[in-house]
Every structure is written in C-alpha cells, then in structure tokens.
C-alpha cells in the first residue's frame, strides 16, 4: 500500500516545495486567501447587523453554518479545486502526459496541484468554528460529537466530488467551463445560508441534485435540534456521509465517461 502511494507522495511533495519556494509571494497568496474567508464572513456579519434571525437561525447558529460550509469548501478547494482547470490542460495537452503514465488519471490530476495558499481560508473557517461551537447551546450526545467531527470532512468530500463532476462535464464543454461553476461555486455559496430562505424548488435542487445543504445546513439542524423546513426533515443531517458517497459515485462514473469521450487535441 505504502509503495503504491509513493508516486503521489512525491508529486504532492514537489508541488508543496515549489509553492513555498518564493516566500514573499506565498505569504501574499495566503493573506489573500485569509481575506476571502474574512470577506465571506463579513457578508454574514452585515446581514446580522440588520436582522436578529435569518431563516430560523440567529447569528451564533449562522456563524456555525458559515464555518461548516466554508471549512468543507476550502478543504475541497485546496485539494481538488484545480480540477476546474481541466479545460486549460485539455487545450495545452497536459492531460495527454497524464495518460502516458501508469497511474489513474484522476488521481494524477488531483495530486498535480495542492494549493497550499488556500490554507488561509481554512484557517478562518476553523477559527469561526471554534468560536461558534461554544456560543451555541448544543445538547452534546455521543452522536452529535461524532457528527461535529465527521460533518466537515464529509462536507469536504461532497465539494471535492462536485469539483470532479464539474471537471467531467468539461470533457464535453471545453469552452463552457463556467456552466459547472454555477454548481460548484454556486453550491458553496448556497451552502453558507439556511436552506429555509430558498424557494422549495431551489431548496430541493441544492439538497438532492447539488448536495450543498448536506454540507452544513442539515448537520446544523441536528446539532441545534431544530426542525427542518418543508422538504428537509432534520434526520437528513445524519446522512451527510451518505450524500458524500452518492456524489462520488456520480463523479467517478462521469469522469470515466468523460475520459472515454476524450480524443486528445492532436498535438
């Protein structure tokens, strides 16, 4: 097992060294990433400077929701976010090089670039999570403790799965890569707000088609023991790991179909 993972360790290690080689530009990149996290939290702050409760959540609950959604997304973005650069790889023929190596192409694509600068955004999310957890009145049971640990990881898996789905679609839509952004970045955006403020069709879209509500809103309902809005019962919050498995099943099937469809640029 260790021997089989060695190529990936080497790939990831080389990427990490190359990113940190230019100290000043790395620091400015990390600061930029912290800035993105802070800006997104500022948005929640401005809304709650005007209202006390939004979609059934108060500021502390909304901060918890923000932290879960943002931690999941920023982890996924760090590990797999560059998958949306696939059109560039397709155009430049980089993917052809991946095809020549005796390793799975998707594993190579994901390990080709782990963006360490995005640690900044993860750090903001972790900080908000650490502050928001004790601010909320949570009735801790072993199940809820487990969920609080598993939910961010499952959320990261869900967003990473979405990135792979988006990449798979790009084998057909090289020029239309932005279609997929509506679901990856749009999903991440929607995940940071209580699903109860969305109309019923949008709520179902961002739960059962793009499983964004599973990343944060549904686990928060369980943690705070709140009833869900129409169409989203609270118990769904326990199913977050299942949602991650489901999206990865779709992602892998889509990726295989996309790779079969790919015929190369002829370069």
């Amino acid at each position: 097992m260790g021997e089989r993972l060695r190529p990936y360790r080497v790939l990831v290690g080389s990427r990490m060294r190359s990113q940190t080689a230019y100290r000043r530009s790395f620091v400015s990149d990390v600061l930029g990433s912290v800035g993105i996290g802070l800006m997104e939290f500022a948005e929640v702050y401005i809304v709650f400077a005007n209202v006390d409760v939004l979609g059934g959540l108060d500021f502390a609950a909304a901060a918890l929701l923000f932290a879960l959604a943002n931690l999941g997304f920023s982890l996924a973005d760090m590990v797999a976010g560059h998958a949306d650069r696939l059109p560039v790889y397709l155009r430049e023929g980089t993917l052809d090089a991946f095809l020549l190596r005796p390793l799975p192409v998707l594993a190579q694509l994901i390990t080709s670039d782990v963006s360490l600068r995005r640690l900044g955004r993860c750090a903001v999310a972790v900080a908000v999570f650490a502050v928001a957890l004790p601010l909320n009145d949570i009735d801790w049971t072993p199940g809820r403790v487990a969920l609080a640990v598993v939910a961010p990881l499952a959320a990261a898996a869900i967003f990473a799965g979405l990135f792979v789905c988006a990449a798979a679609v790009q084998f057909w839509l090289v020029e239309g890569a932005e279609f997929a952004s509506a679901f990856t970045y749009g999903g991440a955006y929607a995940a940071g707000y209580p699903a109860s403020i969305f109309s019923l069709p949008m709520r179902l879209l961002f739960t059962f088609v793009v499983p964004a509500a599973f990343t944060a809103y549904l686990p928060v309902l369980v943690l705070l023991d709140l009833p869900g809005p129409a169409g989203l019962p609270q118990w769904l919050g326990w199913c977050t790991p299942l949602a991650a498995l489901a999206i990865w099943a779709v992602a892998l099937a889509g990726w295989r179909a996309g790779l079969r469809h790919y015929t190369g640029t002829g370069s």
Binding site: S28, G32, I46, R117, L173, E178, Y193, F198
Partner: protein
C-alpha cells in the same frame, strides 16, 4: 478619437467570438442571482418587510441588476496588461503611436458593450419571472443610468489598470489581485447593498472607488437617487474616474522608466 473608436470595436469583436463561454457565464450569473435574491429577500423579510428603504421587490431587483452588471463592469478578472509586462510585450504597446492606457480603456469598453446584453439580459429576465423587478417608468433614470454604467466600467478599468501595474515591480501579482477582488466584493455592494452597512463600514466604503462600480449605477438606474442627488452620484463616479486614470498614468510612466525588456 477615430483610433479610440476602432479599439472599442475591436474589443467588441474579440469578445463576441466566445459564444458558448458567454452563454455559460450568463447561466452562472443567473444561478448566483437566484441565490443572492433569496438572501436579500430573506433578510428583508426577517427585518419586517423593509430594510434601509428596500422592500422585497426592490431588494430582489438590486440583486438581479448587480448580477446583470458583474460581467460588463468586469469585477473579477483583468490581467492582460500584467501578463504583457511580464512577457515584455508591453514594449510593443509603448512603440505604438497611441496612448496605451486609452487604447486598453477602449478595448475594455468594447468588451463591456458586447457583454451588456448577452450577460445582462438572462439574469434580468429570470428576475422578472421569479421575483418581479421594480424598475422606474420614466425615461430619465435610464438615461442617467446609462451614463453611470459607462462611468462604472471606466472606473473598473482604471482600478484594474493600477492593480496590473504592480507587475512592473512584483513578478507574481496573484495575491494582490486577490486582495483587490476581496475588498471590492464587500465594499462595492456586490453581495449586500452598501446602504445596509453599519456606519463604520459605510464610511470605509465611501473612501474607496468601489461603490462607484456597482452600488452607484444600480442606485441611479432604479431611481433610488433622483434629480440633483443622481447628478451628485455621477459626479462622485467621474471624480474617481479622473483620480484613478491620472494615478494610473503616473504609475505607468514610473514603471516604463524602470522596465528592462530582455532582447529577443
């Protein structure tokens, strides 16, 4: 002046070739519009049906108009000049018998003119169907709004020009570009109207050109500001435009004096 017009047309034509990308972008703007309109309307509902002068329909209209303007104003990305500085191609721009800043401004305006309808109409039509739009019934707000939109595009160019000029001194400008987009995203009213800000943040926003990019044109277009107040908003935009363009000229001149292009 003729040259300027030619560059506007070239900018228009250059962008009109990316058809599928335009449709995809409009789709994404629309999906984000749905999410933003939901947040805005949700917050207005939570505040009791009215928040800083916005009711549900005017709040949703704000979100949709911002989504329609995001692409023409080019909020998220412009790094053409920075790449040309890095590759040394900027030497070619300097050799041309035309002012580089004005020619890039012309190209930027041409791109905006192309994107105005295909990127703006889909979110607005969706908004009209889903939430309804509150738009003025008299022609004056549209006339002033058109001027305000052109000013917004030009101010956006002036700001991006300055951000790109950093490339003369720093090789990798991604961190700086990120910081620019981050500050812009909050302070321009891209996400939440500037009128909702707590006083300290509103003051901070007023000290930057960012509200001139989105909040100002939407305020004028929806007749939230009218008459002399609207002219005042246009005046602020024009002042920022003059400021950022002038500063851009000075910095560009400094940068080119420092520039060493490797032979080839």
């Amino acid at each position: 002046m003729r040259l300027f017009a030619t560059f506007v047309v070239l900018g228009f034509r250059r962008w009109s070739t990316y058809r599928l990308a335009t449709v995809a972008g409009a789709f994404t703007n629309t999906v984000f519009g749905l999410i933003k309109a939901s947040i805005t309307v949700g917050a207005i509902g939570a505040a009791g049906g009215e928040l800083a002068g916005y009711d549900a329909v005017t709040g949703a209209t704000y979100a949709w108009l911002v989504q329609a303007l995001v692409a023409p104003v080019n909020v998220f990305q412009w790094s053409e000049l920075a790449y040309r500085v890095r590759d040394g191609d900027v030497a070619v721009d300097l050799a041309r018998p035309a002012d580089p800043q004005l020619m890039y401004l012309a190209g930027f305006l041409g791109r905006a003119a192309f994107q105005f309808i295909p990127r703006g109409a889909p979110p607005l039509l969706t908004g009209a169907l889903v939430t309804g739009l509150a738009l003025p019934a008299t022609p004056l707000p549209y006339l002033l709004g058109a001027v305000s939109m052109v000013l917004a595009v030009a101010v956006s160019f002036g700001c991006w020009w300055l951000v790109n000029l950093v490339a003369f001194w720093v090789i990798e400008m991604r961190g700086i570009a990120t910081l620019y987009v981050v500050s812009l995203s909050v302070l321009s009213g891209l996400i939440i109207p500037v009128h909702w800000f707590p006083p300290w943040l509103a003051t901070l926003a007023a000290l930057t050109p960012f509200p001139s990019l989105l909040q100002a044109p939407v305020d004028v277009l929806t007749a939230r500001v009218e008459g002399t107040a609207a002219l005042g908003v246009l005046g602020v935009q024009a002042a920022w435009l003059a400021g950022v363009l002038l500063l851009g000229r000075l910095v560009f001149a400094r940068g080119t004096r420092k520039l060493v292009v490797q032979g080839g």
